[in-house]
């Protein structure tokens, strides 16, 4: 039976320290049905021996939920930014065969901490900048809130599934180290909070925030973001709709200047 065992190969872009130069390393692990990229990385962690037989440091990666809702395991798999936990090995080898190595790279638009682990803090900083929340805390009860229009609620639900995973920012040509563009995800969040009957009260503040440096104007309509988003967030629709809102506000602001 031993010689019938099948192997899959991973080609992983590794980096030991944030400042050190990256290098590629190959790993071969026995194939089992129903594996995914996270479970494969765990196999490698159990026995960190590379394809040429040397014992090496285990590959560092992040994961939390194992069901594509936290976004922690986002990496570039065979060239596409996606979640490692929902990247099924059977699907990948069904497409490319057993022989072709599966390449894993860290996201390129964020600082790498180690191996496949990156720091996506900047995405959260931009969410803060655009006030992507509803201020309800106070020293007294505010009573029942207004009712939520069902159509708006279901549109907002769709957007609320964003997990700040960074796939959209990774694929966006305007999001790079030469520009301070906030990234595609913030605009859908602004759209969502501006739809909420309570969030509506800070609508103008959020619009002003996305009209500031690095804001909505830096989107060049490449529309890669919406293609790679694993949660089908209507990113380009939110940008298009907000374009109307910010343009109207801009005209208002010019005449009040």
């Amino acid at each position: 039976m031993r010689n019938e065992e099948k192997y899959i190969t991973f080609k992983i872009k590794r980096r030991d320290k944030p400042e050190s130069t990256p290098y590629w390393e190959e790993f071969r692990i026995p194939y089992k049905p129903n594996m995914n990229v996270v479970s494969s990385l765990m196999e490698i962690r159990k026995n960190p021996v590379n394809a040429s037989g040397h014992k090496v440091n285990p590959v560092v990666f992040e994961c939390n939920c194992y069901e594509e809702v936290c976004g922690a395991c986002t990496m570039i798999i065979n060239g596409t930014p996606r979640q490692a936990c929902s990247a099924l090995i059977d699907e990948i080898i069904g497409k490319h065969g057993m022989e072709r190595p599966i390449t894993l790279q860290p996201l390129t638009k964020f600082p790498v901490i180690r191996d496949l682990m990156v720091d996506r803090q900047i995405m959260f900083d931009y969410l803060k900048k655009v006030k992507a929340w509803i201020p309800v805390d106070g020293s007294f009860g505010l009573g029942r809130g207004p009712r939520y229009d069902e159509r708006k609620r279901s549109a907002a639900y769709q957007i609320s599934r964003c997990m700040t995973c960074g796939c959209c920012a990774e694929a966006c040509p305007s999001f790079n180290e030469r520009s301070d563009f906030m990234g595609p995800h913030v605009f859908s969040q602004v759209k969502m909070f501006n739809m909420h009957p309570l969030g509506l009260m800070q609508k103008e503040d959020r619009l002003k925030a996305i009209m500031s440096h690095g804001g909505i104007q830096d989107c060049g309509n490449a529309q890669n973001c919406v293609r790679v988003c694993p949660k089908s967030i209507p990113l380009t629709r939110s940008i298009a709709e907000l374009n109307l809102d910010v343009n109207l506000l801009a005209i208002k602001r010019i005449f009040k200047w």
């Binding site: 060239g79 596409t80 694929a171 040509p173 305007s174 999001f175 790079n176 030469r178 520009s179 009209m211 500031s212 440096h213 690095g214 804001g215 909505i216 104007q217 830096d218 060049g220 309509n221 490449a222 529309q223 890669n224 293609r227 790679v228 380009t236 629709r237 940008i239 298009a240 709709e241 907000l242 374009n243 109307l244 809102d245 910010v246 343009n247 801009a250 602001r253 010019i254 009040k256 200047w257």
Partner: protein, 210 residues
Amino acid sequence: MAKEKEHLHSDFYIRRFHSILGIIPIGIFLCLHLTLNSAAIIGPEAWASVINGMRSMPFIILAEITLIALPILFHAIYGTYVVYVSDMHFLQYQYLNNWMYILQRVTAIITLIFVIYHVIFVRIITETTMDVMAAMANVLQTPLGFVLELIGVWSAIYHFSNGLFTFLITWGVLHGERIQKLFSFLTMMLCAALCLLSLIILIRIAMMPI
């Protein structure tokens, strides 16, 4: 409490200004320019009378500077900065819109070079209507000249047509996925039509016995 003075970030307004300039006046000028020069399809006399007409307008130089040169200059300078801050090594994303985005930036640079050449060649160093016609015909009669001229003109046309599509998104007109697809198709049809028109114009000029 004194109201905090509102701060208008200039980025947004400059980028929107750049976007308007692409259509008004530059895009309108491009369409007019192609329409007027279609007179070359009829023949050298018709073309000559159109060029004469344009050149004999009073204060034409003032209109050329304020309505054409300065807007293109602003659009081109800021546009070059926009090209600089976009990532274009994006062969890994094989989506149609991504290709259109990359082509928008590639044609921006080609158009920039072409417009500079074109203005110097047929506006600054040429004196009479005959000079202009002879200069154009001479270039177009060599295969290399014809191909380069065609690339320049087609770049400007694509850049304008796709720019019209993104303009409609930038100004918040096209929201949904399907209406965007439809308009992307319509503007590409416009692009094809203008490319065909310009091809016929250039062939007719190349055939002129000058």
